[in-house]
């Protein structure tokens, strides 16, 4: 490996030996093609004309009036596929194409990454397999159907709690047996090196755009940037542009599970708030686990945040204190979903609703001149059934 893939002590590539050559090949291709004008030109063209970049930075006036400070939404919900995931799947998909790979595999939780991979698989004419936990298949069924319509095979994973962690386990196992012709299109800024670096690279357009748009619209930098954190890809995508801006406060919002469980072990996914450092899925990072190191079960209303690990750079940013990580509960996310829908006519994904929930919890605590950018990582169409279950419309 050319790079050590470390963020302080975090990261690395703790994988079975058989995967090392594949990760080396991937790192090599990533470094080569992202320095290649042809590759970058093709990607920029796809991001613009296929996916719809740049996405708007929208001043949410009515929501701001309610909060008492200014809220800007980075509209990744408007990106093709309905979430930020497409930035990464186009980038990695094109990388697969340049590497001459003909088969894609991916894990998915909420189904947004699976869908974005299935779309790219269709676009590039690649055979695509999506690994998805049985629990998630049930609660995100709309996305399962869409993936199949795009021609992908959706493989149900029964192990564990049938969520994102289990899908990653099985995707890694499948990759181990098929490394020679298969590209593993990892969906978050987690996993073994070089994935955290690759995913950050392809998601950093969110932050680069948002920073410039904010300066254009307001004449200055925001006071705060907030994003939800599952594995951490949408968050690192927007945070990365602001890390050096010392006056910009940065907040990552994790899934706190149901408020009644009060972050009890097994009932939430607030990895950075309640975890300990360990090794899972190829990376040294904060993890939810017991004393022996067995990985804990997690719970969240949002499939995309329901993961006991987190990308290693977030562990680093937590320890250095540059980013603050806080949990938001299921109920608060549901409130935020309803609020944004009612006040702005925008249906946020339940994942993104966690970030909105945190920002709304600051109501009355910030001066009216304060401006906050929230990364609206995805749209909520996929979650309408879940919201209906918890909050039936009268």
């Amino acid at each position: 490996m050319k790079q050590d893939g470390r963020f302080g002590e975090f990261g690395g590539f703790y994988v079975p030996e058989v995967l090392i050559p594949a990760l080396e090949e991937l790192e090599e291709a990533f470094l080569r093609f992202t320095a290649d004008a042809g590759f970058n030109g093709e990607l920029q063209n796809l991001l613009k004309n296929y996916a719809g970049r740049p996405t708007p930075l929208y001043f949410a006036k009515r929501l701001s009036e309610l909060a008492g400070f200014k809220i800007y939404l980075k509209r990744e919900d408007l990106l093709h596929g309905g979430a930020h995931k497409m930035n990464n799947t186009l980038g990695q998909g094109l990388l697969a194409k340049y590497m001459g790979k003909k088969k894609l595999i991916a894990e998915t939780g909420a189904g947004q990454h699976g869908l974005a991979t299935a779309m790219v698989g269709a676009l590039f004419g690649m055979e695509t397999k999506i690994f998805m936990g049985e629990t998630d298949i049930e609660r995100q069924s709309v996305n399962v159907h869409k993936m199949k319509l795009c021609g992908a095979e959706v493989i149900g994973v029964e192990g564990g709690t049938g969520t994102l962690k289990d899908a990653i386990n099985d995707a890694l196992r499948y990759w181990t047996a098929n490394v020679s012709d298969t590209f593993y299109l990892f969906g978050s800024a987690a996993g073994p090196h070089p994935y955290p670096v690759i995913v950050k690279h392809f998601q950093s357009c969110i932050g680069t755009e948002a920073r410039q748009q904010c300066i254009e619209q307001t004449g200055r930098l925001p006071d705060m940037v907030a994003a939800c954190v599952g594995g951490g890809s949408n968050a690192i995508g927007i945070f990365s542009a602001f890390l050096k801006d010392k006056d910009v406060q940065i907040v990552g919002v994790e899934a706190g599970g149901s408020a009644k469980d009060r972050l009890a072990a097994g009932h939430h996914a607030a990895t950075l708030a309640a975890g300990k450092v360990g090794i899972l899925h190829g990376s040294k990072t904060y993890l939810l686990q017991n004393d022996d190191g067995q990985i804990a079960e997690t719970e969240s209303i949002s499939a995309g945040l329901d993961y006991p690990g987190v990308g290693p750079e977030h562990s680093f940013l937590k320890d250095t204190g540059r980013v603050k990580y806080v949990p938001a509960f299921d109920e608060d996310a549901l409130d935020a979903f309803e609020l944004l829908t009612k006040t702005e006519g925008i249906l946020p994904a339940l994942e993104s609703s966690h970030a909105i929930a945190y920002v709304m919890s600051l109501k009355g605590k910030l001066s009216p001149a304060t401006s906050v950018i929230v990364n609206l990582s995805g749209r909520g169409d996929k979650d309408v059934g879940i919201v209906e279950k918890y909050r039936p419309v009268k």
Partner: protein, 266 residues
């Protein structure tokens, strides 16, 4: 405590190395199973501590991990287990597990405790030689051999690097993939073993997918110093969960058969 060196020098044939998940399906049964395997002719034991997320393992060993964890297996009970096995017989034991379990206990303490309990070597499924520095000094200090895996997709340079970090024996993975019972042996296995034997003087033990006495014999004929049988043995446990007597007798019969096949092979 018997070392691999002593054992390999004594044996005039490849070693038979069954693999078990400690505590599968429960502590007491697991103890009986392993003792029975020793009686049936195991030369070395490969023992795994169950992990919640075994990414290098196929469904059979995944289920064994689930059973063992549901049965209450912990790292400290695994220590007791190994002590009890060593009291029964001084047989070399290789420990195979995932890194997080070592990391949480503390690498130094983990190695010291397990060496004292009677373990000869440590193999961490999700730690490659690229990070050997994190464990090798502590393993050496504790007295443990460090076993690493080598896979058929490694080039010559990588094989040499792996061999240089490995002591005790090198674990040759017979195929590209996770553990699991398989019908046939990979057709590249013979060439792979021969290549390894040329590149290293460290004993080469071969595992993954070896499911029949014929497979064991073929691997032995190709020049392996040891034959590791995992999923097939765990499958015998799984298939007989309701009948312990049958489980133990089938297991003993299978191990005896494999042993005979190996003995005849050379």
């Amino acid at each position: 405590m018997k070392t691999y060196k002593e054992l390999f020098a004594q044996l005039k044939r490849p070693a038979l190395i069954p693999f078990f998940v400690i505590g599968d399906p429960d502590y007491e049964t697991s103890l009986e199973i392993v003792k029975r395997a020793i009686d049936a002719g195991a030369d070395i034991l490969e023992l795994g501590i169950p992990f919640s997320d075994p990414i290098a393992d196929g469904p059979t060993i995944q289920k064994a991990d689930v059973r063992a964890l549901a049965g209450g297996m912990t790292v400290s009970k695994a220590l007791d287990f190994i002590r009890q096995i060593k009291q029964y017989k001084d047989i070399p034991i290789g420990l195979l597990l995932y890194y997080n379990l070592v990391y949480q206990k503390g690498i130094k303490e983990f190695f010291k405790d397990f060496y004292r309990a009677g373990v000869n070597s440590i193999l961490i499924a999700d730690l490659s030689i690229d990070d050997a520095d994190e464990i090798a000094p502590a393993a050496r200090e504790a007295g443990l051999d460090t076993v690493f895996m080598v896979t058929p997709n490694a080039d010559e340079q990588r094989i040499k690097q792996i061999a240089s970090q490995t002591s005790g024996f090198i674990y040759a993975v017979s195929l590209l993939g996770v553990t699991g019972v398989r019908e046939g042996l990979s057709d590249t296995i013979e060439g792979f073993i021969k290549k390894l034997k040329k590149l290293t003087a460290t004993p080469v033990c071969v595992g993954f997918g070896i499911s029949k006495p014929e497979h064991a014999a073929a691997v032995a004929r190709a020049g392996a110093d040891g034959v590791i049988i995992g999923s097939k043995i765990v499958r015998i446990i799984e298939d007989n969960l309701n009948n312990k007597k049958k489980m133990l007798s089938e297991l003993a019969a299978f191990i005896t058969e494999c042993k005979k096949a190996i003995e005849k092979a050379r």
